[in-house]
């Protein structure tokens, strides 16, 4: 049995210390301490309302957009305290791509969906440069072969699985370090899910990935580490194979095996 605590860590990409989140008077997250390693997939699991999506949204400060939401504690990405007043939030979000449950391409062409981020962040010096970014991003997202002859077609004309890969291409076009994925396959059929899962396996060679999922099998298949959340607390965090073969905490065991906890 491997022990997560005894492993010599790679340099932690993300470190959260005593993170608390309140929505008005209601505390949604309690003292979350988590270290996420670089170029690994970390899965967040737990019942609806347990705080896993709230946590993932802390990592790119999306909670800033929610009225009455207060985030306390420290979140370090590399050496940067992301909640520091000195942190440039636009630059931060360029470093952290996000993919949501429902594919949400812009009502624009496939090309423009991917080119949007590099344009607003000024990442392309020329049209040729932008073409290269779009091509590279679509290739990395495993979509290039399916769309190379119709880049002018609307992103909305693609299938659900293709739209989700387009959103991944859009996220990686701004050259992030981290990809946050909030239930990225929950609206997809098993084949489209398998394609996205295979893609995530390839993407982790370049990016640190944090994924929220309700599928135990998906967490087991994809991630190196898994964190189980319950009622705003992180109950257990361990190597994924330990979590799914022999969890230490009874609450984790009850949740992953569908028992009355």
């Amino acid at each position: 049995m491997k022990d997560v605590g005894s492993m010599i860590p790679n340099q932690y990409k993300i470190t959260t210390s005593n993170v608390n989140v309140d929505y008005g008077n209601k505390r949604a997250l309690h003292d979350i301490n988590l270290q996420i390693e670089e170029k690994e997939v970390t899965a967040l699991i737990g019942p609806s309302g347990c705080g896993k999506s709230t946590f993932i949204r802390c990592l790119n400060r999306m909670n800033d957009l929610i009225e009455g939401c207060k985030v306390e504690g420290k979140i370090m990405i590399d050496e940067v305290d992301i909640n520091s007043p000195d942190t440039d939030i636009v630059e931060l979000r360029a470093r952290i791509g996000m993919v949501f449950q429902k594919p949400n391409p812009f009502p624009k062409s496939i090309y423009d969906n991917v080119a949007y981020g590099p344009r607003i962040h000024g990442l392309a010096k020329s049209n040729e440069d932008l073409d290269n970014i779009v091509t590279k991003s679509l290739k990395r997202a495993g979509l290039w072969n399916e769309v190379e002859d119709r880049l002018d077609a609307s992103g909305l004309s693609l299938s659900g699985g293709q739209q989700q890969r387009l959103c991944i291409a859009r996220a990686i076009a701004v050259n992030p370090d981290i990809l946050l994925m909030d239930e990225p396959c929950s609206a997809l059929d098993p084949i489209a899910t398998a394609v996205i899962e295979e893609l995530i396996n390839e993407l982790k060679e370049r990016y640190t990935i944090v994924i929220v999922t309700h599928s135990m099998q998906q967490a087991a298949r994809l991630s190196e580490k898994t964190a189980y959340f319950h009622l705003g607390k992180m109950i257990e965090y361990d190597i994924t194979s330990n979590i799914f073969t022999n969890p230490k905490h009874e609450m984790t065991e009850a949740y992953i095996s569908g028992r009355i906890g």
Partner: protein, 229 residues
């Protein structure tokens, strides 16, 4: 362990455990009957042991089939997964114990019909009773999920080895003095080896019980005595 929210998996698992309990009881009966029949030279009993082995094979196949179906339908994890894997392995072990009992019955048939057979020259029944006790206790440990009982079995295999070795030596010595009885004595060596193997299998049930409860295999090495010389 609390019940599942969706009770269908629990129903399936209970059915598998019921089949294992039935298989365990049959394996115990087969072993007991094979020893009793040898002791009593009961020819009819030998036949019924040999015929009854098919029902152990059938139940074992049913257990495997149920486990396969539950794995495919429910994709169980953690304790649930171990429950099914262990049930399948214990089923296979009990089926093998049934095979050894049948083999004892077959060899005993030959022994008791030998013209010069009068009584067993070694205490093979004693070894059999020791192994019967281990089988009963190992099944109790598994059914009760009792890790202490399981570890006691795990550590007691050395006693089986010693008993077997002592009988083996006795038979060899007897054989050199009574070469005319070589056929019967060779069968007795095989019977005692079968019993020693049943003893080994009881430690396998104990090991599986430990794995089921703890999710790991016992860290201590199983104590063994030398069984050949």
């Amino acid at each position: 362990m609390t019940e599942h929210i969706n009770s269908a998996f629990d129903t399936g698992l209970k059915e598998v455990n019921k089949q294992i309990a039935k298989l365990g009881a049959l394996a115990e009966t087969q072993l007991d009957d094979s020893l009793t029949a040898l002791k009593e030279k009961n020819i009819q009993k030998f036949e019924s042991i040999i015929n009854r082995d098919k029902s152990l094979d059938k139940i074992t196949a049913d257990v495997s089939s149920s486990v396969f179906e539950l794995l495919a339908l429910w994709s169980p994890i953690a304790y649930d997964l171990r429950s099914l894997l262990v049930a399948d392995r214990v089923g296979a072990i009990l089926e093998r114990i049934g095979d050894y009992s049948k083999n004892i019955a077959r060899r005993s048939q030959v022994i008791v019909t030998e013209e010069n057979f009068d009584r067993l020259p070694v205490n093979i029944i004693g070894l059999g009773q020791h192994v019967q006790d281990l089988l009963h206790k190992s099944l109790d440990a598994y059914m009760e999920l009792n890790i202490d009982k399981a570890m006691n079995i795990w550590e007691s295999d050395i006693d089986t080895d010693r008993l077997y070795l002592s009988i083996f030596k006795e038979i060899l010595s007897y054989m050199s003095e009574n070469p005319d009885d070589a056929k019967m004595l060779t069968h007795l060596i095989f019977i005692s080896k079968n019993l020693e193997r049943v003893g080994d299998y009881t430690t396998s049930i104990a090991k599986q019980t430990y794995f089921l409860i703890e999710g790991t295999v016992p860290q201590t090495k199983r104590p063994k005595a030398m069984t050949t010389f």
